[in-house]
């Protein structure tokens, strides 16, 4: 007797993709678990991990925020190759506010996020009309230019950077601040993208002429999305400044641009959750591979290639699809 799997959810899905009856604990858990597990995981992990892995968690959260920021932009039709621009501007803003003006870090953080977001938006405002790869090129170039500007003008410590920047009050505040920011950004912006406002953003990606034709100023919407996404990345940059107690030219490094894209692509773009999943996998993986020395990057790259080839839709999309797919074994004659 042969057996095969039969889908038993198709009949319901044809009528409604997202209607579930909430009449039992099992069903409520079915909906809650995928949301509760990451929340609890992120909240409890800092308590369990040792010092070293706490730092890794910090890094995971930071890259997840950068990846979410990238994903928000990508959803609005702007492929950014320059998350380092937003990250770096936020980092320098917070560094200068605390180092030069003596602000406390907890005040400097939100101000640097908004200021960094504003500066990033102003930087890219002139090229908002560019589409596709042309926009991406500009985002790639600007952070590389800023590095040279800092070097040449010796502004804000020049090549030396600013060191001895005030840290956050304690390790726990540090950890829960970034984890809290990540969870708030993840769930908050997921909600935003599902709203009518988010629909307009996604429609701009899909077909911008059609959105213009609806009497909507797409440049105004794109500028808003850019501000939201870059503020998020700037917050991350500002945060890392206080973790490293240093800000300098490395904040504009290509790593901050490329790794978030890898995380979002491996995790599955378009959901923000995918971006988070990607960061949760890639950052610790990179740490684990540290043990094997010189070939680390090769293995890391290989892993990326395998993933992108095997699961082009992204891990999150794959898991989500399987999770909502009900099957049973039936016997085939």
């Amino acid at each position: 007797m042969e057996r095969r799997k039969e889908r038993i959810d198709r009949g319901i899905k044809v009528r409604a993709g997202d209607v579930f009856a909430l009449c039992s604990w099992r069903e409520m858990l079915y909906l809650l678990a995928p949301r509760l597990i990451p929340v609890l995981g992120f909240l409890l992990l800092p308590l369990i991990l040792d010092n070293y892995w706490q730092k890794v968690l910090l890094s995971v959260a930071a890259f997840a925020l950068l990846a979410i920021s990238w994903d928000i932009l990508a959803q609005s039709g702007m492929i950014s190759l320059g998350q380092a621009l937003f990250f770096g501007l936020g980092a320098y803003c917070s560094g200068v506010l605390t180092h030069v003006f003596g602000w406390p870090p907890l005040l400097a953080l939100p101000v640097a996020a908004l200021l960094g977001g504003l500066l990033s938006t102003l930087c890219l405002l002139p090229v908002l009309r560019l589409r596709g790869v042309y926009f991406s090129m500009v985002t790639l170039i600007i952070p590389l230019m800023l590095v040279r500007v800092v070097e040449a003008t010796k502004i804000f410590g020049g090549t030396e950077g600013l060191s001895g920047i005030a840290p956050l009050p304690s390790k726990w505040i540090e950890l829960y601040l970034i984890v809290g920011a990540l969870l708030a950004a993840l769930f908050g912006f997921r909600r935003m993208l599902d709203s009518d406002y988010g629909l307009v953003l996604k429609a701009i990606k899909d077909n911008d002429r059609s959105v213009i034709n609806a009497g909507i100023n797409i440049y105004w919407f794109k500028a808003q999305a850019l501000f939201i996404a870059s503020s998020l990345a700037a917050l991350t940059g500002a945060f890392m400044t206080h973790v490293y107690m240093f800000v300098g030219m490395p904040v504009f490094a290509l790593d901050y641009s490329i790794l978030p894209i890898a995380a979002a692509v491996v995790g599955g773009p378009g959901t923000l959750a995918g971006a988070t999943v990607g960061a949760v996998i890639l950052v610790p993986l990179s740490e684990v591979l540290r043990g094997i020395g010189g070939l680390r990057i090769v293995f890391y790259g290989l892993f990326l290639v395998v993933f992108i080839v095997a699961l082009p839709e992204g891990i999150f999309h794959y898991i989500q699809r399987k999770y909502h797919q009900f099957e049973r074994w039936v016997e085939v004659q």
Partner: protein
């Protein structure tokens, strides 16, 4: 009727590189009129619409709407003044269900302004509008993804998106192309209802028979120039039009 036409094209020229796509084009649209815009392929009909709606800027000349020059305004601003259009090539948001496609125009500032400062329940309005253009309410079509809808429904969706903006002028760019006779017959009453509501309509059409039944007046273009204007029968009898369409001296 008030003073002057609702919409007027005044001596428009448009150069694309060396090609004169629109050559000294002038015509007017009166309040409540249904104007047909016809001509052979490549005669500049769609370019004329792009000039009116601001997607293309004229090389010279002006588009005047309610006494105000609108050429030079960005397309979204022109839509907000009450001129909406459909595209010849349907442009739905494929990943979204049909009724969610309607959310985009319903997010337009124009809709808020017309409804007295409130947007209301967009999903409900979307379903109402879709029903108006022939998405049967009980048949679930409105909930289907635009990617799986047949051409006839996509055209209706395109029309609904234009109507959602509560326009005064509706420009329909080859709405009938690619549709069966039965589908055309079912869309014609929708257009007639729009006229009864007092909307002014410009229709670009190749389906002349269907167009002539409903159009008050037609303008014929060839090589970017207006070669005839007037009532359908009179226009089609003119030698210039016969030559343009058939390529022979009549």
């Amino acid at each position: 009727m008030g003073a002057g036409p609702l919409l007027a094209l005044k001596a428009l020229y448009k150069n694309f590189g060396g090609i004169l796509a629109i050559n000294d084009l002038s015509f007017e649209l009166a309040q409540g009129e249904l104007l047909g815009l016809i001509g052979p392929n490549g005669s500049g009909k769609t370019t004329a619409v792009n000039l009116i709606t601001g997607f293309v800027k004229p090389s010279s000349g002006a588009v005047v709407y309610r006494g105000r020059t609108i050429s030079g305004l960005p397309p979204y601003a022109i839509v907000r003044l009450g001129i909406s259009r459909t595209f010849q090539m349907v442009k739905p948001f494929y990943q979204l269900p049909a009724y969610k496609n309607m959310i985009i125009p319903l997010c337009s500032p124009r809709v808020k302004q017309m409804a007295g400062g409130r947007y209301g329940d967009r999903d409900a309005v979307a379903l109402d509008l879709l029903e108006e253009v022939g998405f049967e309410r009980d048949a679930q079509v409105a909930y289907k993804s635009a990617a799986v809808l047949p051409q006839g429904y996509l055209k209706r969706l395109e029309l609904a998106k234009a109507i959602a903006l509560k326009p005064d002028v509706v420009i329909l760019d080859e709405l009938f192309s690619g549709l069966s006779l039965a589908e055309v017959a079912s869309i014609v009453p929708i257009i007639e209802r729009l006229r009864q509501e007092g909307k002014s309509i410009i229709m670009i059409e190749h389906r002349l028979k269907e167009l002539f039944r409903i159009a008050d007046r037609v303008v014929v273009l060839n090589f970017g120039q207006k070669i005839a204007e007037g009532r359908a029968e009179a226009v089609m009898a003119s030698d210039a039009v016969k030559k343009a369409y058939l390529g022979v001296e009549a």
